[in-house]
């Protein structure tokens, strides 16, 4: 039986929803490792410049609102992870940023222009990886990348060099002469990533780039995304792997068509719990409500009869006090430790909290997101 009593109902994530994604979490220069793409070009955009801006943006299909009232600003040199359950509105949000969809209301600005009227020069600065497999199965891996590079206007002499670079980056150089249709699902996804990168875009919009890729290669992909970020690129990445939120500078959590949280990953964790979490296991059944009056305790959740989670403002200083208080109340502590919720737990908590506040009709609308086919 789970019982939750939270003293402070406000959430940091709730407050953050609708805000600016900055470069505050970017690594130091010493931590930056030049990569095959990152070192190829200087930073495109000065850090701090607004690359993406969404103001009160909503999108409806046939009177069904799929994305509602999203406010978002992304500055240069940032990785923004757009995370949310299936059908939450992630792809619709992404498509409004690429210009493939116009918002029903609100304003969207990307690289200083409205996506619905992007100039060719602006389009050349955007790399896009759609969610669906969008390559020609009869063309080889190399030909596919070369074709996309040509679409973005890369001339022959630069195209050859870039094709080689990106294919090596995604570890497909050896498969460059294999037809795309004969590659495995993971290899096809890597090939699409190569296509998105080949023209060296300032802004990369990647719709689930790590879907279907094995864990080892996923690490490599994220390393490269970090390198790109360090080279001044801005990245918008949707992912279905919640733990990948840790790889992002900022995380936008979308559920039921709404942006329910926008914050750095560490802040999101605190937002979900309201503070640090201490997990205590007792030898016998213990009633956690005895701890409510303890200073610094924000919430108590009885996970099991002999196990409870206590949310405190600062775990390191409050842990001894909690153990003492249990002893005073007649309990016998078997173990006590600070726990960090997994991102799955954090997101489940935030989504559940947002769901409680939502209009049930809107939930249905958000789940029926139209496909991306033309």
């Amino acid at each position: 039986m789970t019982d939750e009593r939270q003293r402070d109902g406000t959430s940091g994530a709730d407050n953050a929803a609708g805000g600016t994604v900055g470069a505050g979490l970017r690594p130091t220069d010493a931590e930056r490792v030049p990569g095959p793409i990152a070192d190829a070009r200087p930073a495109d955009q000065p850090s701090g410049d607004v690359i993406v801006s969404m103001r009160n943006v909503s999108r409806a299909f046939d009177n069904r609102t799929v994305v509602r009232d999203v406010n978002l600003t992304v500055t240069a040199g940032t990785i923004l992870g757009v995370i949310g359950p299936s059908g939450a509105g992630k792809t619709t949000t992404i498509r409004m940023l690429t210009g493939a969809l116009a918002p029903t209301s609100g304003e969207v600005e990307v690289l200083g222009q409205r996506p619905t009227s992007f100039s060719r020069r602006t389009r050349e600065r955007i790399g896009y990886m759609p969610q669906l497999f969008a390559l020609y199965p009869d063309l080889t891996a190399g030909e596919n990348v070369d074709f996309v590079a040509s679409l973005f206007g890369l001339l022959l002499w630069r195209r050859r060099r870039r094709v080689q670079q990106v294919l090596k980056l995604v570890q497909l150089w050896d498969a460059r002469k294999t037809r795309a249709g004969r590659l495995s699902g993971g290899m096809q996804r890597r090939l699409e990533l190569a296509c998105a990168l080949v023209h060296g875009p300032t802004l990369l919009i990647l719709d689930e780039p790590t879907a279907g890729i094995d864990p080892l290669l996923r690490v490599t992909v994220w390393e490269e995304l970090h390198r790109l970020r360090d080279a001044g690129k801005t990245l918008l990445v949707t992912t279905q792997y919640v733990h990948e939120a840790e790889e992002c500078d900022q995380v936008a959590l979308i559920a039921h068509g709404r942006l329910i949280a926008l914050a750095p990953p560490a802040e999101l964790c605190r937002s979900a719990t309201g503070g640090d979490v201490i997990e205590v296991e007792t030898t016998d059944m213990f009633d956690g409500s005895n701890l409510e009056s303890l200073p610094g305790v924000l919430a108590i959740r009885q996970v099991e009869a002999r196990r409870l989670r206590v949310t405190v403002d600062h775990a390191a200083t409050k842990l001894p006090a909690v153990v003492d208080a249990i002893g005073v109340a007649g309990g016998d502590v078997a173990s006590a430790r600070e726990v960090r919720l997994t991102f799955d737990e954090v997101f489940a908590e935030l989504v559940a909290r947002a769901g409680e506040e939502d209009d049930p009709a809107a939930d249905v609308a958000a789940d029926i997101e139209p496909g991306t086919a033309a």
Binding site: A100, F133, V148, G153, L155, A373, A374
Partner: protein, 396 residues
């Protein structure tokens, strides 16, 4: 730089389309060998020979007419295959109903008496035909039969009359032979056309035009619709490519492909099949080029208005069906009423067949206005497709 980048995008589409076609062995077989095989089968298989109709002649016993088959072989001619002479009309009609024979001819019962009484006798010709073409053929054969029987009767009577006149001392009565009396005129056909192709040779240019149109429409329409219904068009929307560059790329790629196949097919027609090529080769090439361009435009339009691959295939087949019926390939255009006749020039192959027939087999054409029609069709189809595809590529 802008032009260079634009050219890069167009060439990328051209290269991609050509590589995709080359990489599909099945497509090469159906695209290049297909037309050749159709032409070869048509040439080898079509003889123009019409099977003679199996015929039973019924001679009523009281008629007094001969009952041996040799007596009627001259009358039957090459159109009828005389299988039996019988007095049993019911049995012959039963076989006709069972479709084991094609024609039953029943001779008049009292032909001589009717003639002497100044009355016409009836030769009854019975057929069992549902097909209107077969029925018309039977009517034609009945008229030929009637004419031949009458001619033989007149010839016989003239001969008897001359014998009678000669025996009466009128020696000049034999000056005109009985067969001339029976058929005083005969037609001598002179064809002034610059070439007299065989049936196979005559249909060759029309088959070429039909194959080219169908291939151009299907190839480009399927290419576009596949991109529209997959994520590739999503990539086009985000990338700097625009509808004009995409259309140009497709037109150039499939134009090259269809042009190469047209050249090979013309060589086959003029070489092994012996189709005459009397017209200016440059003009013929120009007409083929315009036919391909208008057909590609039609294919683009089909892809632009379709929302699935299935619909594209259905529309392409409808165009093919309309082309077979209305283009002059199977039925002559002047057999249609005026309003329909005006509409059928919208189909590119209608103009292509007429122009290619004329230029190849006559050396010139009296329908040069149809060159203009092909050019207008190309412009209109491509223009409409551009508007629709631009809308599809625009942000929504």
């Amino acid at each position: 730089m802008i032009i260079l980048k634009s050219l890069t995008r167009i060439l990328a589409v051209v290269g991609k389309e050509l590589i995709e076609v080359i990489r599909r062995p099945g497509a090469i077989l159906s695209l290049i060998l297909g037309p050749f095989l159709i032409m070869a089968l048509f040439g080898a298989g079509y003889s123009g020979y019409r099977r003679p109709l199996e015929t039973v002649i019924v001679i009523p016993p009281q008629s007094g007419l001969p009952t041996d088959m040799d007596s009627y072989k001259e009358i039957a001619g090459s159109g009828l295959d005389l299988v039996e002479v019988t007095p049993d009309a019911a049995s012959a009609e039963s076989r006709l109903r069972d479709q084991t024979i094609d024609v039953v001819i029943i001779a008049p019962t009292n032909a001589e008496q009717d003639f002497k009484a100044g009355q016409r006798s009836k030769i009854q010709v019975e057929v069992n035909a549902v097909d209107p073409v077969e029925q018309n053929y039977a009517v034609f054969l009945a008229h030929v039969l009637e004419r031949d029987v009458n001619r033989i009767i007149v010839e016989r009577l003239a001969k008897e009359g001359q014998s009678y006149a000669l025996s009466a001392g009128a020696s000049q009565a034999a000056a005109i032979p009985p067969d001339v009396v029976a058929a005083p005129t005969e037609a001598d056909l002179v064809n002034v056309a610059p070439s007299q192709p065989t049936v196979v040779q005559f249909f060759g240019p029309a088959v070429l035009a039909l194959i080219l149109q169908h291939m151009a429409v299907t190839l480009i329409a399927l290419s576009i619709i596949r991109e529209r219904t997959t994520g590739i068009f999503e990539l086009f929307r985000v990338s700097p490519i625009n509808a004009i560059e995409l259309i140009f790329g497709k037109l150039i790629a499939f134009g090259i492909l269809c042009g190469a196949i047209a050249a090979l097919t013309v060589l086959l027609l003029v070489g092994p099949l012996g189709v005459p090529m009397l017209g200016d080769p440059a003009l013929i090439a120009g007409v083929i080029g315009l036919l391909i361009l208008a057909s590609l435009g039609l294919g683009l339009l089909i892809a632009a208005i379709s929302d699935s691959e299935r619909q594209t295939v259905q529309l392409s087949l409808l165009v093919l069906l309309a082309s077979v019926f209305f283009s002059g390939f199977a039925l002559a255009i002047d057999q249609f009423s005026q309003p329909v006749r005006s509409l059928i020039y919208i189909i590119p192959v209608t103009n292509g067949i007429r122009l290619l027939d004329d230029l190849l087999m006559r050396g010139t054409t009296t329908a040069s206005w149809q060159i203009g029609v092909l050019a207008i069709l190309a412009v209109v189809f491509i223009g409409l497709s551009w508007l629709l595809l631009r809308r599809a590529m625009r942000r929504i």
